[in-house]
Symmetry: C2
Subunit: 232 residues, 2 copies
DNA sequence: CATGAATGGATAGCGATGCTGTCCGCTATC
DNA sequence: GATAGCGGACAGCATCGCTATCCATTCATG
């Protein structure tokens, strides 16, 4: 298959595919002539994956590049591989995914740098206690944990420090979902499939859960405030 | 307080604050002279909220504008208000939140437009059955439900149609979290606080849950693959 | 084997986004 | 009255995700 058909099948414009090739999101096609390449089903699959991570997952092109590099990296123990893949998916959500890298000038940001503020210290302590209480085997400095710290600190700064009271419920639900995820992932046999499942499950799973949470909220809100039936 | 102190307190550069003022994310300060304004605690609070939605929530400036308009809108029944606020928070996650608005040229996108593809049709059906089974009171065409449809269709397209098997578990967890959220929200008395709680809870709650899910996955993965203790 | 469309590859440009920098005339404060 | 900061307007900038243009080559078709 040549680039035109790849484009037709996936709905992605040819110049965009070329762009992804340049950025390394898509491996080069097999050259049949000095300037003629052919693409296979793997390319199509990969391309769809890229689009899904972009459109549904909200990852940046650069982030997708890193993640896919991890997917294609065939070394290391499985657990670490999964951890690496999952870890790389965090920051996109941790800092909003847009723009990026301006941390030096936000004194109240309280994230990485030098002098953590009061909210961050408290949040870090709370997270540590949560991990302890749950018995989670998480290495200190884990990026997801750091993202959680940042989110909690942010909540506190916004005057919603009370939100931490919900943490246990959230954690309970997350644990359930996390187990489910792992079961799903564990069905894979080939290592590459496995890592891909982690990526897909993590990124699109976030979107799925977020949507479900909104729906559940709407229902809960209907129950609580709109005693009359909805206008359906 | 003048703009300089507002900047010092929040860590947001003065020109950025001016920019937010221009964009309507922040109400104008009270003019004490033709060219001298003073800002209060409300401004500081609002500014922190804006930054949190931007950095942790990943919302665009434009989206924040709309959401804040909803927060400040004091009419309409509570339930609808909540729905409106929550609804406005969906698309950011549904399409990745970046760039945006290019749906006409992606034939395989399967979202809004004219001819929904097979994956979308199946996903829509699955979602309808889920809502039915759960007894959720959700109006047809709800944006969160549409986002879920899009995410499931995307999963199918990527070859992870099997992911739908996890839906019930996800929904169960989401329901739990949704109830928790509503309890939290219901503590508010003033209507404005209430809507703000919805916004904060929804947006930052996503970040919190996503982080917790990653952590739970790491733990589950450790249990499953790394029988030896982690290198802590 | 001539012709037109498509290809691979390279480079430049575009539109949106989230700021940032500069300038102005004014004001508050010392 | 000097100096710092202010509000307001507007132009500019860096990043991102494409998109457009160009070129020589190759393929499909008659």
């Amino acid at each position: 298959m040549r680039i035109g058909e790849l484009s037709r099948r996936t709905g992605v414009p040819v110049p965009t595919i070329k762009y992804y090739l340049r950025e390394g999101l898509l491996p080069a096609g097999e050259l049949t002539s000095p300037n003629q390449a052919s693409y296979g089903e793997g390319h199509e699959r990969r391309l769809r994956l890229v689009r899904a991570l972009l459109e549904v997952g909200g990852l940046s092109v650069a982030a997708i590049g890193e993640v896919l590099a991890a997917v294609d990296d065939k070394d290391g123990p499985v657990h670490e591989l999964l951890g690496a893949a999952a870890t790389r998916l965090v920051p996109e959500f941790g800092d909003g995914g847009r723009g990026g890298g301006r941390e030096a000038d936000s004194r109240a940001g309280g994230d990485g740098g030098g002098a953590p503020d009061a909210e961050t210290v408290l949040a870090r302590d709370r997270v540590a206690r949560l991990i302890e209480a749950r018995g989670w085997r998480i290495e200190p400095g884990n990026k997801a944990a750091e993202a959680l710290v940042a989110a909690l600190a942010s909540l506190a700064r916004v005057g919603h420090g009370g939100f931490v009271d919900l943490l246990d419920d959230y954690a309970e639900a997350a644990e359930r979902v996390g187990r489910t995820d792992l079961d799903y992932v564990a069905r894979r046999v080939a290592r590459e499939d496995l890592v891909e499942a982690v990526v897909v499950g993590t990124v699109l799973g976030d979107a799925v859960f977020a949507a479900l949470r909104r729906m559940a909220q709407v229902d809960a809100s209907a129950q609580m405030f709109g005693e009359e039936a909805p206008r359906a």
